[in-house]
């Protein structure tokens, strides 16, 4: 689903993308990605793909866990410890992690996944767990994919593309 330049992912109970790799550690792809958490939201930019992302709900809390190597299962386990977490909500966490992998915002690491001791590592909003949301914006992709010098129209200039 793509609407007006951004995509809201619908979280379906899909199979884990990386079968058999749920114990492998993942970490933020810092070579290609930069991010900042502002209160309960986060802004993430992948300057290789030209996409940028807004996270909300419990998304930033999940994102923060990947600052150090951690497996998807360990992330799920940490949220499972929170009071009142349902199976559906745990599926939402897993789907969010899958989305991070699809967008190459987190990458597999050779580092052995760390053992997170307790749910105290997760910062969840006062209202408790909220569906993690990842808004994907691709409206500026052309600025990266489009070489402003060579692909720009010679008469009108960047960002108008060169006519065939």
């Amino acid at each position: 689903m793509l609407s007006m330049g951004f995509q809201n992912l619908e979280y379906t109970h899909e199979q884990i993308l990386y079968q058999g790799s749920t114990m492998h550690g993942f970490v933020i792809n810092s070579a290609h990605v930069t991010s900042e958490i502002f209160g309960e939201e986060a802004v993430v930019v992948n300057f290789v793909t030209g996409k940028y992302f807004a996270m909300s709900g419990s998304g930033p809390a999940i994102w923060k866990l990947f600052e150090s190597p951690i497996s998807a299962d360990e992330v799920i386990d940490e949220f499972r410890k929170l009071d009142g977490m349902t199976a559906t909500e745990l599926d939402q966490v897993r789907d969010f992690i899958n989305a991070l992998q699809r967008e190459k915002l987190i990458v597999e690491t050779d580092d052995s996944s760390s053992q997170y001791a307790s749910a105290g590592n997760i910062t969840v909003a006062a209202g408790g767990f909220q569906t993690p949301v990842l808004e994907i914006h691709d409206d500026l992709q052309e600025l990266i994919v489009l070489d402003p010098i060579h692909d720009a129209d010679p008469e009108r200039g960047w960002p108008v593309t060169r006519r065939e």
């Binding site: 330049g5 930069t34 300057f47 010098i149 009108r156």
Partner: protein
């Protein structure tokens, strides 16, 4: 001067064939030798030396043989100052054809190791050397971050595209400021009754139209497209360019400014350019202290509405477009903008269809933000 040094085709060929698995060494040598070549040309030919002050950044531009003055100066003439004993950087402007000097390479002379074969951006913070090229139009920009010398090297000034004069030397300003407390930002800067704001928004959101309407209504301006923001206890936005770029449709809504356009666009896509220093000189100011960020959204409502916005939403409107337009030093730019956004009050402007009404609403809001 040794005009044949380095730039003989045979020498280029040897560089290409001598890649030796280390393209960086070849490009680095090319950058340092090219800038040295320009220094030699300046010593031999002289030309026009001009100084520009953009807030905390002072730039010396040495037009070798007076080349490229007509391209570089119009959009930044308001920032020209008398000779300075100390500058932050020096850019040599060289037009090969007018002086019968060595031309910049017609084709990319180095191997490419990127998936985009046409990628022509080189940025090596370790060696302190940077390059941005458009060999198809004969435009090369080179920079040495260690001594802050640069070269704006063109094959023939008379064939430069018209939009090259819209924001001259921008990449040199970015290179000069990437590792200090200043940041080029893609935003408009306006001031009303001593209160400074930055306007940001996606392409087509009406930023330039709103800026033009605001200036017509009495706002002061420091920039329509890019401003230089310096950090401090209160951030300051400095003026770089005095141009506003407007579509035909926008110009039609602003009759007071319509006859000030300096170009005649060839089609509906190309924008009109207006030099504010021609028409509204008193409205163009050198700097403004800023404390508010507005993101513009085309709501199409009858009346403009200004609402509090989250810092994350404003950061998403501001940072990616700036980063992707500047292309180099993206992480540094992102983190500087994070610091800026955290200091600002953030609002979303749900705009009506009338840019003059939008400007008036913004003025009322700035005067009485609590209402």
């Amino acid at each position: 001067m040794n005009r044949g040094r380095v730039f003989d085709p045979a020498v280029f060929s040897s560089i290409v064939n001598h890649v030796n698995g280390d393209m960086s060494q070849d490009i680095n040598r090319f950058i340092t030798d090219s800038i040295e070549y320009a220094r030699d040309a300046w010593r031999e030919f002289g030309g026009e030396e001009r100084y520009y002050c953009f807030g905390p950044v002072t730039l010396c531009v040495r037009h070798i043989g007076a080349a490229l003055v007509d391209t570089v100066s119009p959009a930044i003439r308001h920032a020209m100052v008398s000779k300075q004993s100390s500058v932050n950087g020096t850019v040599y402007a060289l037009d090969a054809k007018s002086l019968h000097l060595r031309r910049p390479p017609e084709t990319w002379p180095f191997s490419t190791n990127t998936y985009q074969e046409h990628q022509r951006i080189y940025w090596d913070t370790e060696s302190g050397l940077a390059l941005n090229s458009d060999e198809s139009r004969g435009i090369w920009q080179l920079f040495n971050l260690h001594n802050c010398d640069g070269l704006y090297w063109v094959d023939d000034e008379t064939t430069l595209p018209s939009w090259e004069a819209g924001s001259p030397l921008r990449i040199f300003l970015h290179w000069l400021t990437w590792n200090n407390n200043c940041q080029l930002i893609h935003a408009a800067g306006l001031e009303w009754q001593g209160r400074g704001i930055l306007l940001t928004g996606p392409g087509g959101s009406g930023k330039s139209t709103t800026t033009a309407a605001a200036v017509g209504a009495g706002w002061n301006m420091v920039g329509d497209d890019f401003v230089l923001v310096s950090d401090g206890c209160k951030p300051v936005a400095h003026c770089i360019y005095d141009t506003i770029k407007l579509t035909r449709e926008s110009l039609g809504k602003l009759p007071n400014i319509a006859d000030s356009a300096i170009n005649a666009p060839v089609d509906a896509v190309e924008k009109f350019r207006v030099h504010l220093s021609d028409r509204y000189r008193q409205r163009l100011v050198g700097k403004i202290a800023i404390d508010t960020l507005f993101t513009l959204n085309i709501a199409g409502a009858h009346k403009t509405c200004i609402l509090p916005a989250s810092k994350a939403s404003v950061m998403a409107a501001l940072a990616p477009t700036t980063m992707f337009m500047l292309k180099m030093g993206m992480k540094e730019s992102f983190h500087k903008m994070t610091g800026l956004v955290n200091q600002m009050q953030c609002y979303s402007v749900q705009m009506s269809t009338d840019p003059c009404e939008v400007a008036a609403s913004m003025a009322r809001f700035v005067e009485n933000p609590e209402t």
